[in-house]
């Protein structure tokens, strides 16, 4: 059933070969084809702008008030590219190898190689658009090291790389809007995908201001709707980030790839109150100079400065002498959880570890530390009210990114013909763990280069009957969407959408978060359907569906998280190995590290929706590693 359509031949030539073999659409015929792009983040805006430039009729949808708000904007660190401007031994092959290994051998080699190749073009493209990357005094681009790799390949724009890349894509998009080649539909949220004759031919949306449900028909549909970390409720994702688009597509037949692969980022500001609405990331770069520690004694009540050196446990330096505080994200996160579970966590709720800059300040001087990390220390103080120059920062891991997403083939097409998926919404390139500065790279690779090459091939090689919104499939799908909205409004129970999302998030965080066990996952799988049941009987929304109603928007998104959470746990339960961010407590090395099981789990899991209340069906895409030999990661 799963055909990944990987081109034959040596990996270095596959993308070129694929591009040569793909069919083209004559420039004069392009305006006859309509394309729907849902989402206007890096992948969506880049795809919409590029397809508009090529001459297609593009309709781009965003639930924000302007495409510049997408959550890509919050990425801090940078974007990788194998430019080798530093002459430090970087190459496409090395970026490819680092990404495959970083993903703990659970990504498709062909896609990752293409990503590494395209990384070069992305930087060129962004510079031409005027993205203000950091520069050396000679006017050349500056790079820095990131994410534990051994070369300096990360291009950056201070701590706001995501913002600057998104603005570049947004500006290119607005240029196409002005030219009349892209129509922007703002404050418009996708609620379903319409399938006609087995192909994706349109979408149903809700206007978030008037509540009107609209149908839109096109020749092909692209989803670039981001990740689903908000299934944990507390995450570093923006509040509106949700899984609705990919989940509704999943229910229409798109297989969901590796839903349990989620990334927990080690350096976030800990939870401070029960009212907290989200978690804030502090750049990973802080671990370059900060030392992570907790008290040796359980239930320590003294302030950090009163704990003498010999009563502190610098646990990362102790357990991983060669990598120390710079172990990869998944390892750092798991260790923080372990020490907190032992009762040695710090801060008001015991859910935190110290990240101490006292030594760095002594070694480098206050001014140097301020210059390097000043803006991060400011953010920290703004949120916590503490001065990290005098007391150690407190950090704790938080859900940050989801490697899972809709299963796509080499062309980024899902299992529904005509439904393409780009950026974080697909499952493709990061395997079981994403390396730092790779999300921006993948979003832009998909948006600027892959989708604008593969979509035309689909259009040129497919006989598409004319379809408009009067088709019965649109009427039926619209009626279903309307029915679901009416059902949400009609529950008239007692609990708010937020309270359900909070409770669901706690379940998923406790049992499908940093450490997963058979018993825990089974417990979660028992609790989630009950909560879902309660949701549909005890939800309260005030107001109507024909006005701007933020509670209704939330409830609609929560209703999908309640279904996705169950699939995450099912996926985590079947994968009894540990790999990357997926840590099954039953599968550890004697030292307590993640232990992969390549004999049984060297595949991507792709789940098929079988209907409400039915168990989903598992399809497996076997993964082969012909270019990077399978090996166990070690950071000791």
């Amino acid at each position: 059933m799963l055909d990944a359509r990987i081109p034959s031949g040596p990996i270095e030539e596959q993308w070129d070969k694929c591009r040569f073999e793909m069919k083209l659409v004559n420039p004069a015929n392009r305006r006859k084809h309509s394309i729907i792009v849902v989402g206007a983040g890096l992948a969506g805006a880049a795809a919409a702008a590029t397809l508009g430039q090529q001459g297609y009729q593009v309709h781009c949808f965003s639930y924000h008030d302007t495409p510049r708000r997408a959550h890509s904007i919050a990425a801090q660190g940078g974007i990788n590219a194998a430019k080798n401007y530093r002459n430090d031994g970087d190459s496409i092959s090395r970026l490819f190898k680092d990404t495959v290994k970083g993903g703990d051998f659970r990504a498709r080699e062909a896609n990752v190689y293409r990503l590494a190749q395209i990384s070069l073009n992305i930087i060129d493209q962004c510079v031409a658009q005027g993205v203000p990357f950091a520069r050396e005094y000679g006017g050349l681009l500056d790079t820095r090291s990131f994410g534990g790799v051994q070369v300096q390949r990360t291009f950056y724009a201070r701590g706001q790389t995501g913002q600057q890349l998104l603005l570049g894509a947004y500006q290119a998009l607005e240029e196409q809007v002005a030219a009349g080649r892209v129509t922007m539909h703002i404050r418009s949220e996708l609620l379903d995908v319409v399938i006609v004759g087995g192909r994706a031919r349109g979408i149903v949306t809700r206007d978030l201001v008037t509540g009107q449900i609209d149908c839109h028909a096109a020749d092909v549909v692209v989803l670039a709707t981001g990740g689903y970390s908000n299934v944990f409720y507390l995450s570093t994702n923006a509040k509106a980030s949700n899984c609705t688009a990919i989940w509704r597509a999943h229910r229409r037949g798109a297989l969901f790839g590796n839903p349990c692969f989620t990334q927990i980022h080690p350096t976030c500001i800990p939870l401070s109150s029960e009212h907290q609405s989200k978690l804030t990331l502090m750049s990973e770069s802080l671990r370059n100079d900060g030392r992570v520690w907790v008290p040796k004694k359980k239930g320590e009540t003294r302030a950090a400065k009163d704990i003498p050196e010999n009563e502190r446990d610098y646990y990362l330096e102790r357990r991983y002498p060669s990598f120390g505080n710079l172990v990869p994200r998944d390892v750092a996160s798991r260790n923080a959880k372990d020490v907190c579970d032992e009762g040695r966590g710090v801060g008001p709720h015991g859910q935190g570890v110290y990240l101490d800059f006292a030594d760095a300040i002594q070694r480098l001087g206050l001014d140097t530390v301020r210059e390097k990390y000043g803006n991060l220390f400011d953010i920290y103080e703004r949120i916590t009210g503490e001065d990290a120059y005098t007391v150690p920062m407190r950090i704790y891991p938080a859900p940050h990114y989801t490697m899972g997403g809709l299963w796509v083939d080499y062309h980024l097409m899902s299992t529904i013909p005509g439904l393409f998926v780009g950026g974080a919404a697909n499952f493709s390139d990061h395997g079981a763990n994403r390396l730092g500065a790779s999300a921006l790279m993948q979003g832009l690779a998909d948006g600027y280069f892959v989708l604008p090459a593969t979509l035309p091939d689909y259009l040129a090689s497919t006989a598409l009957d004319p379809v408009d919104v009067s088709h019965a499939a649109f009427t039926a799908t619209k009626a279903e969407v309307k029915g679901r909205i009416d059902a949400l409004v009609a529950v008239k129970g007692k609990r708010s959408p937020d309270s359900f999302q909070r409770e669901l998030g706690k379940i998923v965080w406790d049992d499908c978060g940093m450490a997963r066990s058979d018993a825990g996952l089974r417990k979660a799988l028992a609790r989630i359907p009950k909560l879902r049941e309660e949701f549909w009987h005890n939800l309260r929304i005030v107001g109507a569906d024909d006005e701007l109603n933020q509670a209704l928007e939330k409830a609609n998104r929560v209703s999908d998280f309640l279904e996705l959470a169950e699939l995450m746990c099912i996926d985590a339960l079947q994968r009894t190995e540990s790999c990357g961010g997926h840590f099954r407590v039953e599968s550890q090395t004697p030292e307590g590290e993640a232990k992969r099981d390549d004999a049984n789990f060297c595949y991507s899991a792709a789940w098929e929706w079988k209907g409400s209340g039915q168990a989903p069906a598992l399809h497996k895409e076997p993964l082969t590693f012909a270019n990077v030999p399978l090996s166990q990661r070690s950071y000791k």
Partner: protein, 273 residues
């Protein structure tokens, strides 16, 4: 702490709004301002009253979604801080706060504290870009950018498009926003070929959107969460003169650029048809 909130409630742009007073109890100092409003909304929902609509997303001060006036000050008065990053520890027990949406003719109210800022997108459409079709770019290091130019471009590009500058300006001018984008692109070598047209066109678009003119109050700079400096407005004005000098043409007719004022109702109808 306990607070009294006077909040602007308006169900839609078609009906008049009014202030409604709410008592907030048990606010803790480690909540953010928006978390305090979340708590208010949970209370309202429990009482079956419609929650207060306010825009927000990243809650890290970068997406630009949030923003309203607290006691008449955009984003609440902490320098360089969006309202989503504003902590309740800056307030004290018994405070009485007035919350209202951005007030500007170009930003019509949609509901409660939410306004329509699409005029900003149309200013960008008029020229806030560098035309570089995907695939046509030279090697990234083929374009040398002096570090100072790159830094200036970055300082200007830090704008998050929240609209606080317009709300704070007595004339509801969008000069700080527009000048930030013009400065970002005009400072870079890549931006030179379209420099004059960009400047003309964006200034014209700004004028067509019912924004006022700058009279050097500097309120915009004071409330800007990204601390975009007022000097960029001067840079924009200099670029406008430079462009007029270069072109020897009537500045306000730029071929190929839509410069009609925007009417919200017509757009919504057009989308439906």
């Amino acid at each position: 702490m306990n607070l009294t909130l006077r909040i602007w409630r308006q169900q839609s742009g078609h009906v008049p709004g009014r202030f409604v007073t709410y008592q907030m109890k048990d606010v803790t100092s480690n909540m953010s301002f928006l978390e305090m409003l979340d708590a208010l909304n949970e209370d309202l929902l429990a009482r079956e009253e419609p929650p207060v609509a306010f825009e927000h997303d990243c809650r890290e001060g970068i997406c630009g979604s949030c923003g309203f006036l607290i006691d008449g000050v955009a984003h609440g008065g902490q320098r360089g801080t969006t309202v989503c990053q504003l902590s309740m520890r800056f307030f004290k027990d018994g405070d009485s706060l007035t919350l209202e949406p951005w007030r500007a003719r170009a930003f019509p109210v949609i509901r409660d504290l939410i306004v329509n800022r699409s005029a900003f997108d149309r200013i960008i459409q008029a020229g806030g870009f560098i035309s570089a079709p995907t695939g046509s770019s030279p090697d990234a290091n083929a374009i040398l950018v002096p570090k100072e130019a790159a830094d200036t471009a970055f300082d200007a590009a830090a704008c998050i498009g929240c609209g606080a500058c317009v709300a704070a300006c007595p004339n509801a001018a969008a000069m700080l926003f527009t000048s930030a984008k013009i400065t970002h692109l005009n400072a870079l070598p890549q931006g030179q070929p379209q420099r004059d047209q960009r400047t003309f066109s964006m200034v014209a678009a700004m004028a067509n959107e019912h924004f006022g003119s700058c009279t050097n109050h500097g309120e915009c700079e004071a409330v800007c969460p990204k601390e975009i400096p007022l000097e960029f407005i001067g840079a924009m004005n200099r670029d406008l003169i430079r462009a007029a000098w270069h072109r020897h043409r009537e500045p306000l007719t730029i071929p190929g650029v839509v410069q009609q004022p925007f009417h919200e109702n017509t757009e919504i109808e057009a989308e439906r048809s």
